[in-house]
């Protein structure tokens, strides 16, 4: 995950990057643990499905030639297809979309608006257990 203010402005290079990574791992752990959320409505989920199909499916979908799915599978993430996950939280999803991770780039608001990002989060958390 990459963040401008933390990794560039302070000018502390790799050491700072490691802190960011450690903080992100902690964030993920906490987010996974605290999976309580108010359930999104069906319209939001349906919208999120459409936005997901446009922006996320080409890399994270099923079928051949999906490098995001292949990467998650190779790194032991189960299930590797994001739509099948039940442990993602809106916070984590938004962090990955806006900051990128590994070869996944950051996405700008001109590509995925905040409203669309909320909808993606609603879609990908639709099957989470309260």
């Amino acid at each position: 995950m990459r963040h401008l203010a933390k990794t560039y402005e302070k000018g502390e290079g790799m050491r700072n990057a490691k802190i960011v990574r450690a903080a992100f791992v902690l964030l993920c752990s906490l987010s996974f643990a605290a999976a309580a959320f108010a359930g999104p409505d069906d319209a939001q989920i349906e919208k999120g499905h459409k936005v997901y199909d446009k922006w996320c499916f080409p890399c994270h979908g099923t079928g051949a030639g999906k490098p995001g799915t292949a990467s998650l599978a190779a790194r032991g993430q189960k299930p590797a297809v994001l739509e099948e996950r039940t442990d993602l939280t809106p916070t984590v999803i938004k962090a990955f979309v806006r900051h990128g991770v590994l070869f996944m780039p950051m996405f700008r608001k001109t590509e995925i608006s905040d409203a669309d990002l909320n909808a993606i989060a609603a879609y990908l958390t639709r099957n989470n257990k309260p």
Binding site: L4, Y8, K66, A70, R98, F103, P105, M106, K109, T110
Partner: protein, 525 residues
């Protein structure tokens, strides 16, 4: 708040207010969180102060707003950096070359203005991605193909302006464009080719119009902001057929490439492929040892024993079913001049493909279907990549010389040498090969510094042998333009003359492809 170089905070603040009036406050981005999304995800400067970070980003949704923006920028001498979809990963992404520039993000201008499947063309705005146009065509059942490059989220306009390549017979994307609309640095709107004729009926059907043909000066340059562009499309073909040609001897490469060039230049082979050595790949420890220290004879023996060939080229054919079959048969007759040559029938398709067929194809790009499959290239933990891509002659001699020269650079710099054909050569463009060599990007300062050193060494070494790159990451644009130095850089000086005339305030993409405005030029040695 960051400010552009040479601009006071007060003046920049005033300009930002004018930009807000032009495009709306929500489309002027200045917060750290927003600016973060405009960094180059594959920057070779991660965690280094040299990384060029923009000061702001603007997202117009109309030509009129682009005109207003360049006029405001001109009045305040604010450098803009135009991006289309901003996914030019490996070449700079959405980040500027000059830190502090204001990114002019054209992604919201994403209108497909026209697709014609009778005369086979499209007219689009810069924010239209290959995915967007593919779905537009597919949803309407139109019988035309687009020609995507490897990453499908790229812009047709941006990719063509960067002179990118694809895989079908329409693979040279700049060559397949027809007509532009351009906002000049003073805000004036120009249409090129037949577009200069009011009420023209042939803007996307005849490229040249009347008088000098100027489209080229808006590619890989910083002389205008292209706001519309026409493209020729490929009528959906009836069939695809590919056949593989395999030869066993090292020196068979000379005849293999000579015959291949003849087929290319005769129009028998019309699409992208690569001449490879199967010996360059594979995890077999015996092969790895031979690659590192074996003789040519040892490698030939290995290739014969394993029946993999020393060299091979896969030939793609598009068109009527009986024609592609005849083309493959003709190609086989030509290659039969090489003793011991073998032929393998490969993929064969009739179009259109159905959803089940498509889902099974790992890389559908050669069939006009955009994909992101290429991003698996660096492996599951890749942090990005960039490309070293010199143009070399389409001869076996040039392929071998390039491999020898670039292998030596790798060895000199203690990299993993002994590529034996590990620099794949492609025919993305007519008449010449281009080597596409992968450089990993990592969030490791020392590794990136080393890679930049290697990259710059390769540029210089290539130039010493008469080879120049067709395109590059923003980090190396100056280095490569420096290499195109005939007659004391007379071509660059011509570019600079045009830059000074068309953009006297130097506001459009300073430094793009090594072209700087007058006030920012360094003294030339």
């Amino acid at each position: 708040m960051r400010v552009p170089p040479g601009v006071s905070a007060r003046d920049f603040d005033g300009a930002l207010k004018k930009f807000e009036e032009a495009v709306g406050k929500q489309w002027v981005f200045t917060s750290d969180d927003d600016i973060n999304t405009y960094r180059d995800s594959y920057s070779p400067f991660w965690h280094e102060t040299e990384e060029p970070i923009p000061s702001a980003a603007l997202a117009p949704d109309s030509v009129e707003q682009v005109q207003q923006i360049v006029r405001i920028a001109g009045a305040h001498k604010i450098p803009l950096w135009a991006i289309s979809t901003g996914k030019n990963l490996g070449y700079g992404g959405s980040a500027p070359l000059l830190g502090g520039s204001v990114v002019l993000d054209l992604k919201r201008m994403d209108r497909v203005i026209e697709v014609n499947d009778k005369n086979h063309y499209a007219l689009v705005e810069p924010g239209v991605s290959y995915f967007d146009l593919y779905h537009y065509i597919h949803d309407r059942g139109l019988k035309v193909w687009i020609d995507p490059p490897d990453p499908g989220w790229g812009s047709l306009v941006g990719n063509a302006l960067e002179r990118g390549g694809g895989y079908t017979p329409m693979r040279d994307h700049f060559d397949c464009h027809c007509g532009m609309e351009v906002v000049l640095a003073n805000g004036e709107l120009v249409r090129t080719g037949m577009g200069a004729l009011p009420n023209s009926k042939t803007w996307q059907q005849y490229k040249y119009g009347f008088g000098p043909y100027v489209d080229g000066i808006f590619s890989q340059s910083n002389l205008g902001v292209v706001t519309k562009m026409g493209f020729w499309l490929y009528p959906e073909p009836e069939a695809f057929l590919s056949g593989n040609v395999v030869v066993d001897k090292h020196d068979d490469l000379f005849a293999l490439v000579e015959i291949f060039a003849n087929l290319m230049n005769s129009g028998i082979v019309q699409a992208t492929t690569t001449v490879i050595s199967p010996l360059a790949y594979g995890p077999d420890p015996e092969l790895a040892a031979l690659r590192a220290s074996g003789s040519t004879k040892d490698l030939e023996d290995y290739a014969a024993r394993k029946k993999i060939g020393y060299w091979s080229v896969s030939l793609p054919f598009y068109g009527p079913a009986d024609v592609v079959t005849a083309q493959w048969e003709y190609a086989k007759r030509k290659f039969s001049a090489i003793p011991g040559v073998r032929f393998e029938d490969r993929a064969s398709y009739r179009f259109p493909l159905d959803a089940d067929q498509l889902a099974k194809i790992v890389n559908p790009v050669p069939f006009g279907v955009p994909s992101l499959q290429t991003f698996s290239i660096g492996g599951p933990r890749s942090q990005g990549h960039m490309w070293f891509s010199p143009i070399i002659p389409m001869t076996g001699e040039a392929v071998l010389e390039a491999q020898k020269v670039f292998d030596q650079v790798a060895k000199d710099l203690s990299l993993n040498g002994g590529s034996v054909g590990g620099f794949p050569v492609w025919n993305f463009f007519a008449r010449a090969f281009v080597i596409i060599y992968f450089f990993p990007i990592e969030h490791d300062v020392e590794k990136n510094r080393k890679n930049r050193e290697v990259f710059r060494r390769l540029i210089k070494t290539a130039a010493e042998h008469g080879w120049g790159e067709y395109r590059t990451h923003t980090a190396f644009m100056g280095d490569i333009m420096d290499a195109y130095s005939f007659n004391n850089h007379s071509l660059l000086r011509l570019h600079e003359t045009m830059k000074d005339a068309l953009d006297p305030n130097g506001i459009l993409s300073p430094g793009k492809n090594g072209i700087w405005p007058k006030g920012m030029r360094k003294a030339r040695a």
